[in-house]
């Protein structure tokens, strides 16, 4: 999941960190903070808050260094701490009223047949997403999802955590992650379909 990983490099860096070398900590920050910033931005959608979350993550990492077992890569460990720092901030935010995504779920007739007749807009989506305007639109659609769903979609589909990892990070069961991902993807599909030219029956 995390790129740049060299176990030997990790081990050397870890040893230097544990012996309290300032320069090692700075190296750790320079190697990993970019990726951490990117996940914090994604979750928080706010640059300043994302920077603060990265800083908080490094302080927790520094405090937790003695407990780091070295079984996971340093990058993976830091990434997870950054995600947690962002989630803490997200939870402490004043909740904005969130729209339910029930209306964006597919519906079925009594015999189990889908009520929509989808049109295949995937080629145009692939082309349109080349433009920045479309990408902004897609991100806007992701932001319409309630946080609980949006975060699962980001962790699973963008950050590429598997179900068990996402569940552990969020402190929920695997089943909850699966259901939320499922509903988030259906809802997002529906939001995109409206733009890419599908009409619900």
């Amino acid at each position: 999941m995390v790129a740049v990983a060299d176990p030997a490099q990790d081990a050397a860096l870890l040893q230097a960190l544990r012996s309290g070398q300032d320069e090692a900590f700075e190296r750790l920050v320079r190697i990993h903070s970019g990726r951490m910033l990117s996940v914090c931005r994604r979750i928080l959608r706010n640059d300043e808050e994302a920077k603060d979350a990265v800083q908080e993550a490094f302080v927790s990492a520094f405090r937790g260094l003695k407990n780091f077992e070295g079984t996971s890569q340093l990058g993976t460990w830091l990434h997870r701490i950054a995600v947690n720092a962002s989630l803490m901030r997200l939870r402490s935010r004043k909740r904005r009223p969130e729209e339910s995504i029930d209306d964006f779920q597919p519906t079925f007739k009594d015999d189990g047949h889908a009520r929509i007749e989808p049109r295949d807009w995937s080629p145009s989506a692939e082309q349109l997403v080349q433009s920045r305007e479309t990408r902004d639109f897609v991100r806007g659609c992701i932001d319409q999802l309630p946080d609980a769903y949006r975060v699962v979609l980001l962790l699973r589909d963008i950050e590429e955590h598997d179900t068990a990892e996402a569940a552990e990070i969020l402190g929920v069961t695997d089943g909850v992650v699966k259901v939320r991902l499922h509903r988030a993807r259906h809802a997002l599909r529906r939001l995109l379909a409206d733009r890419f030219g599908e009409r619900a029956l």
């Binding site: 320079r30 189990g112 295949d120 259906h186 997002l188």
Partner: protein, 86 residues
């Protein structure tokens, strides 16, 4: 298998975690239901569009803001001192 069931199995299908019997019924349904087939295509395209949109405009990992690095290093010194005095 009904359309409703197919929709329910989409994620497991994409993940490759359907058991063989379910996989077979799933594929058989897609073979005769163009609506579900298209739904699957657009469902997949949704994930692809989300990935493309989130990843394309993200700043490069190399462009770490200088002020953030400075703040982290300063915060670390504070945390270190605090830890020592505890």
């Amino acid at each position: 298998m009904t359309c409703r069931e197919v929709y329910g199995f989409l994620d497991d299908f994409l993940e490759g975690t359907l058991d063989p019997a379910t996989f077979e019924s799933f594929e058989a349904h897609l073979g005769r239901c163009s609506s579900c087939k298209t739904y699957l295509t657009t469902y997949r395209a949704t994930v692809a569009a989300a990935r493309a949109s989130e990843l394309a405009d993200a700043p490069s990992f190399d462009e770490v803001p200088h002020d953030m690095v400075e703040a982290i290093l300063a915060a670390r010194v504070d945390a270190f001192n605090q830890q020592r005095s505890e």
